[in-house]
């Protein structure tokens, strides 16, 4: 489970970077505009952080 949590954390973090750089845009289908762009990025990184916390709890 720890490996899965770490893998997910890396995936969400990388997706956040790619999204921020505009390389992927699958989330922008729900809305345009600067505020929502930032929101999607922040949510992806929060998910990455939560996965790291999840990994921390796995022995």
């Amino acid at each position: 489970m720890k490996a899965l949590a770490l893998l997910l954390a890396v995936i969400f973090f990388v997706l956040g970077i790619l999204y921020g750089l505009g390389k992927i845009g699958f989330l922008t289908a729900s809305g345009a505009g600067h505020a929502h762009h930032v929101t999607h990025l922040v949510v992806l990184w929060i998910l990455a952080l939560l996965c790291l916390i999840w990994a921390r709890f796995q022995k």
Binding site: S30, A35, H36, V38, V43
Partner: protein, 285 residues
């Protein structure tokens, strides 16, 4: 938007955000009922004003539960540093709040705009308000059935993580105008064997990160091109929304010690039906 309209909207937002009657539905229906045609809900200035109202509401919730939030945050930090869960009550509540917030965060970011575009009309808000009333009656009915089966009430920290996530998913239905965030989460809590007081408590704690984070992430709207928010209006609106929200949560925490969701269910059914008829005959647009 006049100053009086700004104050009225602030009171409406502060009260209806926490009462289980849908703030989004009311901010669509009430201006339409009062024929406030000068308010354009897509105008950047109006959207910036709404951000201020949400910040005021979130601030009121943080202030009301300040001691509990302080204990929860400290317990969560200790838990992460230790890398181990303990039997601490604040820690258990904190992790259930984290788990309950994740679904609404993800669903909200992905679905908020298309859902709101699709159901932005007064008729849709009125219809969903009636659905909201029915959900509250259904929650009460199922809760009574569980009570009749002699199932003991649980406390927040006794909920499973799956139940916490389920309440979070129920909360996400509030993206639909007319469906109340607190109504959905209180009804969800009742179905997880919480009593009314605990369900309302969990709902209000769950509201704080959701409303607060949504408002913080929307702060760029304050500086969006075309947003000309008057300082006095914004300040007064934020303060009034905060006071209204604080008084509302103080009232509701007392109310749910002895009472249930049914009065709000009746209100939603009657007001929703009235608005639906008015929309049908063309009075409400």
């Amino acid at each position: 938007m006049t100053f009086a309209q700004a104050i009225a909207l602030a009171i409406l937002q502060g009260v209806s955000e926490l009462f289980p009657v849908s703030s989004l539905g009311h901010t669509i229906l009430v201006p339409a009922l009062l024929q406030w045609h000068n308010i354009d809900r897509s105008d950047p200035t109006f959207l910036a004003f709404v951000v201020v109202l949400h910040l005021g509401t979130a601030l009121a919730l943080v202030l009301f539960y300040r001691e509990e939030w302080w204990r929860i945050v400290r317990a969560l930090v200790r838990s992460v540093l230790r890398g181990q869960l303990s039997q601490d009550r604040d820690e258990a509540v904190g992790w259930r709040l984290v788990v309950g917030t994740i679904p609404v965060g993800i669903i909200g970011v992905i679905a908020q705009d298309p859902v709101r575009r699709l159901f932005a009309s007064a008729a849709a808000a009125a219809a969903f308000l009636m659905v909201n009333g029915a959900v509250m009656f259904l929650g009460e009915f199922l809760r009574r059935r569980q009570h009749a089966a002699a199932r003991a009430s649980r406390r927040i920290e006794q909920m499973s993580y799956a139940q916490s996530a389920a309440v979070g998913i129920a909360q996400a239905f509030a993206l639909l105008p007319g469906i109340s965030r607190s109504g959905a989460s209180i009804a969800g809590g009742l179905l997880c064997d919480l009593d009314h007081e605990e369900a309302a408590h969990y709902s209000f704690l769950l509201a704080t990160p959701v409303i607060g984070a949504a408002a913080l992430l929307e702060i760029p709207r304050l500086f969006a091109p075309g947003a000309h928010l008057a300082g006095l209006e914004a300040l007064a609106g934020g303060v009034v929304a905060a006071i209204a929200a604080y008084l509302s949560v103080a009232f509701l925490t007392r109310y749910f010690k002895r009472n249930d969701l049914r009065p709000f269910g009746w209100y939603c059914l009657i007001f929703g039906a009235l608005c639906l008829v008015l929309a049908h005959i063309g009075v409400l647009t």
